[in-house]
Amino acid sequence: MTPILEVNDLTVTMKRPFRTLTALDRVTLTIGKGEVLGLVGESGAGKSLTGAAIVNLLVPPLRQTGGSIALAGRRIDTLSRDDMRKVRGREIGFIFQDPSTSLNPVLSIGHQLIETMMTHLPIGRDEARRRAIAWIDRIGIPEAERRLDQYPHEFSGGMRQRIVIALALCAEPSLVIADEPTTALDVSVQARVLQLLKDLHGETGVAMLLITHDLGVIAKMADRVAVLYTGRVVEIGPTSAILNSPHHHYTHGLMKATPTPNMQTQRLDAIPGSMPNLAAIPSGCSFHPRCPRSDATCRDHLPRLSGVESGFACWHPLSAGGTS
């Protein structure tokens, strides 16, 4: 199976007068056709940056300084600005965290859907309008024809996020990048939006890069998951394998620190310390100051990812059952 997206050794740096900071360090990921890859990590890990780098929306002084990005076998990181604009929206859809800022407040949602489809698809206005109504209906908003002409502020937060999803998918892209699509939403609304994403994924077969800090979202949505820490992939593999028997201590720590309604414990196992600043990434394995299992090797030597499809970057990995 040819992967739809291949990210190879992607490196993003930020130039400062007296030093260069590395925000993404040789990130390698692949997403197969119709696959959902979860990208999980805490703030500052570089999750959103990875998404932005793929669609070439890095904000200076951030710059891609290494690696390659290929969509369906074609390099897209070397495309001109105009060519990249055609890729965005047409081949890669984007769903942002905050639905209130990703919809244009002065245009009706019908206008936004119709314009997006007419820009990217070889269809006329009438057909675009027909499809827009079908989309609004599909995302569970009643009276689609009437609501087509309404403006974003006339919809609830959950509805707006569903409209954003329709906008991202209406041009029939082969890949959609969803950056924290449910973080701004409440529990009940979150389940609704995830269900819609899941259904649409099933119907259209679009591949998805799902960026989130929430392991619960990963568990329910992702086929495979990549765990990011200080701009490096520290563990990657099938979701069920990783969540049932993580190899990296960070993945394990993250799972034990996540509170869920059905857990029996009254005390969480917290990871000590916090995500280091880009300007002070520790030597060797960058997780070593917070790791219960670290030693001199971890401090001095950077562990390599043991496999691109499925692997971990740790000198003392946990084996099945959670022991090192």
């Binding site: 400062r16 007068p17 007296f18 904000v59 300007a279 002070a280």
Partner: protein
Amino acid sequence: MSIATETLSHRNRAIQGLEWLWQSVRTAPGPSLAGLIALSLVLFAFVVPLVISSSPFDPANADLLNSLNPPFWSEGGSMVFPLGTDDQGRDLLTALAFGLRTSLIVGILSVIIGLVIGVSLGLISGFAGGAVDTIIMRAADVQLAYPALLLAMIIDGAMRQALGTSRDTNTAIAIVVVSIGISFWVQYARTIRASVLVEREQDYVAAARVTGRSRLAIIALHILPNIMAPVLVIATINLAIAIITEATLSFLGIGIPLTQPSLGTLIRNGNNFLQSGEWWIVAWPCAVLMLFVFSVNVFGDHLRDVFNPRLRTRR
């Protein structure tokens, strides 16, 4: 925290400080240069009068033998009076320093008056709300209908009637300061009021209230320090406006009297010689006025961008 990481964080902070300075010079060389020019002119205005203690406008210093000397590079000019002299034989370089100093004092004092009135009324308006807020904001609208120039003429006229010819130089300066200062308050009041409406809803204010702080203490200790940045930007730009207004008033003869050097009186005096070929008498004060106002505006504009949180995140 161990000693090793502590020194590291100190060094990091030092590096960050250097980076910030270098970054601001590199990303904004124009505003940095403008700031430097404005600062040099201020130093020039306040240091020269310290060295040459007596004003060239003191009648005792009149030097009619050297009157109307051209600048040093022209025929008849000399390095004794590098920028030339006027009809009374006053050295224009010294006169410029004394003149700029008067203009700066007028500018600074009027900005302070506007700032104090405006910030106080803005705070009251933002916190009291209701009728008080409405009255203050309508008064602001009325104020905006009167340009500073008109206001100065009205106050000047009234004072002339009240004091007759007994007005001395200091009274004249005070009138200019007050009339320019009053015209400024609206901007401060509006800015402060808007900031207060935002800041009073912040959680640090709620935290102070839960702690039991009085309203006055919350305004003075918590809110005021957080809303002064935009006010300082306005103050910078108002300084330039105040100096121009002073020059205009003095040029029209309703500001600083001719016996006191200011950029306005120097221009007014020099204007008389423009037709007879002594261009330098009016050119120097005009040039200094333009250079100073331009630099302050460029610098102030940059400050506005720096303090604007929306723009800051983008950089």
